[in-house]
Amino acid sequence: MTATSPSAGDLVALRLRGGGFDWRSYLLHGAMLLAMLLALGILLVLLADVAMRALPVLTQRPLDFLTSDLSSRPARAGIVQGLIGSLLLVFFVAILAIPVGVGAAVYLEEYARDTRITRFVRTNIRNLAGVPAIVYGLLGLAVFVTLLGLGKILIVGGLTLAILVLPIVVITTSEALRAVPGSIREAALGVGATRWEMVRSHVLPYAAPGILTGTILSLARAFGETAPLLMVGAVAGTFSGHGGLIEQLTGPYTALPTIVFNWAGQPQDEFRSLTAATIVVLVAVILLVNGTAIVLRNRYDRRW
């Protein structure tokens, strides 16, 4: 290539190859990678630390730990009441929050006219989802325990958690409904379906995978929630809560996060391992639930 009169081909080659080293893009690339590793690293360290601490309990008496009652003696303490309590709570949340939340979302998305009031309601549902959980605990305490005089029973815990996750169910359901294209609604109405026939036969079925994923995730949230349960009286100490379902529902109860909270404050060293083991169980259940949600979403995901 001559400096004075490069040919057209040389010019093209110069342009194509002469970009030089784009160090800014590499720098940015590196910074983002670092951010990702940091986030992941902290999580991994945390999990590894908990798992290490949990090792003594999980290796020496895994079944015994899962099936024993709460106890002040570390060697005999187990979490069966917490497991049952948590599962019953989630069951309650499911039967209360899902129908109400899905119903509210269907109303907001498919029926309500877009007025100032509905916009206000929509905005506030989003705000409610961001209200700290402890506030819901206070609400539960004030309304269910004191005002309605229900006492600190499992049903009250379930009600409180249901109200806590209700906004999340409404929001995720709304999003799933909105993902169903308008052309499908027009198609259904165009052949003479009523609004309800359209919703029941088309919009809801097509939105079901999204609704399912959202509700499962909200149940996982309820499963891990601690603060409101402390307010509405999940028992942290020992109690002998066995017997029929009715007694379970109307008696003292506890949940896995509450046990973690309680044991973490115990002075004996043995409880460190027990706390860690409970966390492992809690995290394992939540991972399982979230994993199910992801599998379901991937299987039924619909592309329009």
């Binding site: 499908i184 027009e186 109405l189 379906a193």
Partner: protein, 284 residues
């Protein structure tokens, strides 16, 4: 009060709609009036999309509505089966008489209107369900109690798609090709045995071969149905329709009817300069 009750009271004399032409051609005059549009204006909020449209659509004819983008063709079409009700800000004045009944009268049930006046949309929109269920949905919600298999087959046959799908009625309608999907949508519209089929640019998403099939199909369908088609494609209007209405918009962006006549006349001897400019491609 249902529309059928009022059918008897429909002796509305076909009015002359085109002031410009003193003697409308025979094809405009013969057949029974299905839609009598009288001073129909449509609004989205404060915006007027259509300005005092007055014309008639007659039985067993294919009426094409042509005009530049944004002139309100689709709004007008959707006015015929009250699809605009779905747009919250949409409202209208004037009248659209369907066999003499004002479609916008308060006692008229839009669901019943849409059973009689079917619609095929711009983009094929089959339900993500089986081909069978796509067609059977309309009759089902209409409370059809007869032989559903027969109804489905007959509808698919009329839509000229039966031979292609008869062995795979259980496969999803969304798995078909674009042209097949659109014919499936036509079958779905036919299955409720409507009186009118509205088509909103039904071929705009299709290739020329599929387009031709739809046009042939329209020609067969007009024996039994009244067809109103909105199209961007002037060749299509010229090829496929009997009557053409040309809409354009004024300075206020509201669409108005320039003229309506037999397709033959519109495309060979239009009355208005605007029409001529549009069909010859000088405008729009």
């Amino acid at each position: 009060m249902t529309i059928t009750d009022l059918r008897q009271a429909l002796e509305v004399r076909p009015r002359m709609t085109i002031e410009a032409s003193e003697a409308p051609p025979a094809v405009l005059d013969d057949a029974e009036v299905v839609f009598d549009v009288q001073g129909f204006s449509a609004y989205y909020g404060d915006f007027r999309a259509l300005k005092e449209i007055t014309f008639q659509i007659r039985e067993h004819q294919i009426t094409a509505i042509i005009g530049p983008s944004g002139c309100g063709k689709s709004t007008l079409l959707r006015g015929f089966n009250r699809m605009n009700d779905l747009v919250q800000s949409a409202h209208s004045d004037g009248q659209i008489l369907y066999h003499g009944v004002d479609l916008y009268a308060p006692e008229v049930d839009p669901v019943e209107v849409r059973r009689r006046i079917g619609m095929v949309f711009q983009k094929p929109n089959p339900f993500p369900k089986s081909i069978y269920d796509n067609v059977a949905f309309g009759p089902r919600v209409a409370g059809f109690k007869g032989d559903m298999d027969e109804r489905v087959e007959q509808s698919l046959r009329r839509a000229a798609i039966w031979d292609e799908v008869k062995d795979k009625l259980a496969t999803p309608g969304t798995a078909l090709s674009g042209g097949q999907q659109q014919r499936l949508c036509i079958a779905r519209a036919i299955a409720v045995e409507p009186d009118v089929i509205l088509m909103d640019e039904p071929c705009s998403a299709l290739d020329p071969v599929a387009t031709l099939r739809i046009e042939e199909l329209m020609h067969e369908l007009k024996q039994n149905y009244t067809i109103v088609i909105v199209t961007h494609n002037m060749q299509q209007a010229a090829r496929a329709s009997d009557v053409t209405a040309f809409l354009t918009m004024g300075d206020d962006r509201a669409g108005y009817l320039v003229e309506m006549d037999t397709t033959d006349k519109i495309f060979t001897r239009p009355e208005h300069r605007l029409t001529e400019d549009y069909i010859t491609g000088r405008f729009g």
